[in-house]
Amino acid sequence: MSDVEIDSSSKEDAVIVMTRTFDAPRDLVWKAFTDPKHVARWFGGRGFVTTLCEMDVRPGGIWKHVMRMPNGEDLVMEVVFLEVVKPERLVWENVDHGKRAPGGHPTSRMTVTLEAVGKKTKWTLVTRFGSIEERDAANRIGFANVIAEGTEKLAEVLAE
């Protein structure tokens, strides 16, 4: 039932693809996903408690989210929306593009697509990696491959 997978077929882009089908109409999924009042209720999942959720859902708008992690520390997320097409497409990326503190997330751009399938909704999240300097490389080489290969090799290395 959990349909999370790393797409290893794409050679075009740096991607992780996660899909899932919700037993709910698309408008409702959109609402649950773009109204901070609702987002605060599920984002992060079990063990994560939202303490702040501000969303300005329009291109250039900011989504700031703070949650208390199970270890008691705060996880702060700040992203900027790039595309907002209600109720089918939402694109955002890290707000601190290219200027991250060491140990931070790799720069990534996330695209959520909602597709109505009868009374259900298919969710697809595509994550692309790469900072400004890395974008060229990322666009040339499939990161999915990198990830697949990287982790395979990693397994070998770790087995040593």
Binding site: L28, G44, H105, K153
Partner: protein, 120 residues
Amino acid sequence: MTDADPLSATLFALADPTRRGILAQLARGDASVNDLAAPYDMSRAAVSKHLKVLERAGLVSRSKDAQWRPCHLEGAPLRAVADWLDDYRRFWDRSLEALTDYLEEMQRPKNKKRRRKDAK
């Protein structure tokens, strides 16, 4: 060269098939630049350039002692990438699980569906 964080530096270093090939080769054991250049139709200098990128990302270290200065694979940055990807996947998996439940709750008729506490 780049102010990117270590994770991005690793991803960048991995974003080239030759460099991935070099890492794969090193996963089988330390090797000299000549050894590493052998499978490729490429000069020793070109391979050295790739090695520089890998060294900068901390994926490869080179011995200072031996005359042939063998290259050695450092697993830690790869592990960091794999860990991050794991966390990332887990985060969304958990979030979408919670969203599934929440959507169900949103659609539930708001009648008196209060759960009775059965004392046992």
